[in-house]
């Protein structure tokens, strides 16, 4: 009798495994990179999951009046940021208070948003879906809208083996997509990997040395951020009065500190800084050489002015451009319509 029970149990486990198992996608971690922070064990990557996430990312169904999608503010060919708009526009033309962030290598992020207020990639997406100045849509409305769509019910079923869509499934599906927006194939990466026929020019090399001296303590390789919060000397915007990190920690020492952003694909993610106040990399460098505003929380590294000749400034920018990853920017997999290839 016991043998019978064991046999039945075994068969049950075996069949449920066979029927629910989908081919998992392996998340590649480049050599020498730290371990990702995002816990893929709680959200096994599958091709169908990625496609579902991609469909959601490009679909205005998540906004109340079906006018904008995640991609409206995070476009792939502008490094997943909102080009030409200083402060990302949302529904009804309302302006958010911050510049859109680049969506790249998010699996390594220890926190999200300019103030680091969000602690996990999955729950980040609640913000655009519920923030009045973004998609203006309650999370439950979004879930209802998806449940009312036979197409989405089918897609969710094929991924989660459950036809009832919950906010958890919506958020995990989005994270399947956003966590896989990776960049590690820039010229910089090729040079570091010592690939054949790739090397820095003399100017880029000089830029790289300057970068290591003046910038890398915060924009640390290989992700070009150490994920800390710093005040890099921007003057306070008197209209927005954004206190940054202090709004999360309630600690006045954190006033005007913001998350150190990655510089990958920086060539294409203008405008720059949390409020999008400058448009070119030249302006960014000039900020560091001659625009630093001294205040109580100003970073130690920036207390002494950084002095760069015009040539050195140019070289530094040339180096920053080696962080451009054409493969990531033009990857078909990241594009709209990729989800159309979804098979039942």
């Amino acid at each position: 009798m016991i043998i019978g029970v064991i046999l039945i149990l075994f068969l049950y486990v075996f069949f449920s495994f066979v029927f629910t198992e989908q081919k998992n996608i392996h998340f590649h971690v480049p050599e020498g990179w730290p371990k990702p922070v995002y816990d893929f064990k709680q959200n096994r990557l599958t091709e169908k999951g990625f496609k579902l996430g991609s469909a959601l990312f490009f679909d205005p169904i998540l906004s109340r009046d079906n006018s904008i999608s995640c991609a409206s503010c995070h476009l792939s060919f502008t490094a997943f940021t909102h080009a030409d708009h200083k402060l990302s526009h949302g529904i009804n033309g309302r302006i958010g208070t911050r510049n859109s962030l680049t969506l790249i290598n998010l699996a390594w992020n220890t926190s999200f948003m300019w103030d680091g207020g969000v602690n996990n990639l999955e729950v980040q997406a609640i913000n655009p879906i519920t923030n009045p100045s973004e998609m203006n849509h309650g999370l439950s409305n979004a879930v209802d809208a998806l449940n009312a769509s036979p197409r989405y019910r089918k897609m969710f079923y094929s991924v989660f083996k459950d036809s009832i869509i919950t906010s958890q499934k919506l958020l995990k599906a989005l994270a399947q997509y956003t966590s896989q927006l990776v960049s590690y194939n820039s010229k910089y990466d090729s040079v570091m990997r010592k690939e054949k026929n790739v090397s820095f020019t003399q100017n880029e090399l000089n830029g790289y040395t300057l970068f290591k001296n003046h910038c890398a303590s915060c924009h640390t390789e290989p992700l070009f951020t150490n994920y800390g919060f710093e005040n890099n000397g921007l003057s306070m915007d008197t209209v927005l009065k954004d206190f940054g990190r202090m709004m999360i920690t309630q600690d006045s020492k954190d006033a005007f500190k913001f998350k150190i952003p990655t510089l990958r694909n920086i060539e294409f993610s203008a405008p720059y800084f949390h409020d999008g106040r400058v448009n070119t990399l030249k302006d960014v460098i000039n900020h560091y050489t001659s625009g630093i505003v001294v205040s109580a929380s100003l970073s130690k590294q920036l207390q002494q002015p950084i002095i760069l000749s015009e040539k050195n400034k140019k070289d530094l920018i040339l180096f920053l451009k080696t962080l451009t990853d054409k493969y990531a920017l033009y990857n078909q997999r990241f594009r709209y319509n990729y989800s159309e290839t979804l098979t039942k």
């Binding site: 729950v123 609640i126 923030n131 919950t166």
Partner: protein, 210 residues
């Protein structure tokens, strides 16, 4: 084989005899102040029996919401024996708070989640009191926070003196809580911080079994 069957039967009987059910009902006590919202999380319930044994429910999170009064009755698959003490957390621990998108009572749709500074609201209490200096006499307390130094979860220990078979009532004295808060000065808390910590500190004093 026969022996084995016998043994399994005995084990089975043993299980159903001790694993009965315990019912814990939360009874809010109000005074004249009108309460419009009372929602809070009860998690990781633990029972200490008089015979020294323990029952523990790990990773269990229950949202009690006065709008759905049935949620104030908690049913546990725990042995029905004489109880010494019942312990539970009011709120969500920090590990759970950083675990991404969650389901069931932890679904952010339940309205107990802050989106822009991630984290659960452990306790929501809203209503009206003459003591409030606000125009409409309203107070709004959204108490939560998992980051130190503003970790607002509180462990509550309730010594049990009054048990009716398999059910126990726990009084939650909202009137006392509102008495303790200086409503004139503190009537609107929407963020983790010092004030939220103060309210959290009062929580262990308002639960009792009489």
């Amino acid at each position: 084989m026969k022996k084995m069957v016998c043994l399994s039967c005995i084990l089975f009987l043993l299980c159903i005899s001790t694993y009965g059910q315990m019912q814990i009902s939360f009874k809010p006590i109000f005074n004249k102040d009108s309460i419009s919202v009372l929602k809070f999380y009860v998690s990781n319930v633990q029972i200490l029996y008089r015979d020294g044994t323990k029952f523990k429910e790990n990773n269990s999170f229950r949202l009690l919401d006065i709008e759905y009064i049935e949620s104030f009755l908690i049913i546990l698959n725990a042995p029905s024996k004489a109880i010494e003490k019942i312990s539970f957390d009011v709120g969500i621990d920090s590990t759970t708070s950083v675990s991404g998108a969650l389901d069931g009572d932890l679904d952010p749709i339940k309205g107990m989640y802050w989106a822009w500074h991630s984290g659960y609201i452990n306790l929501k209490l809203e209503g009206k009191s003459k003591a409030c200096s606000t125009i409409s006499n309203e107070f709004h307390f959204h108490v939560g926070g998992y980051r130190s130094p503003f970790y607002a979860l509180r462990r509550i220990d309730v010594p049990i003196v009054n048990q009716m078979g398999s059910s126990v009532a726990i009084q939650m004295n909202i009137a006392l809580l509102l008495d303790k808060i200086n409503l004139k000065q503190i009537n609107n808390i929407m963020l983790p911080g010092k004030e939220a910590m103060q309210i959290a500190d009062y929580l262990p004093q308002i639960f009792s079994n009489k």
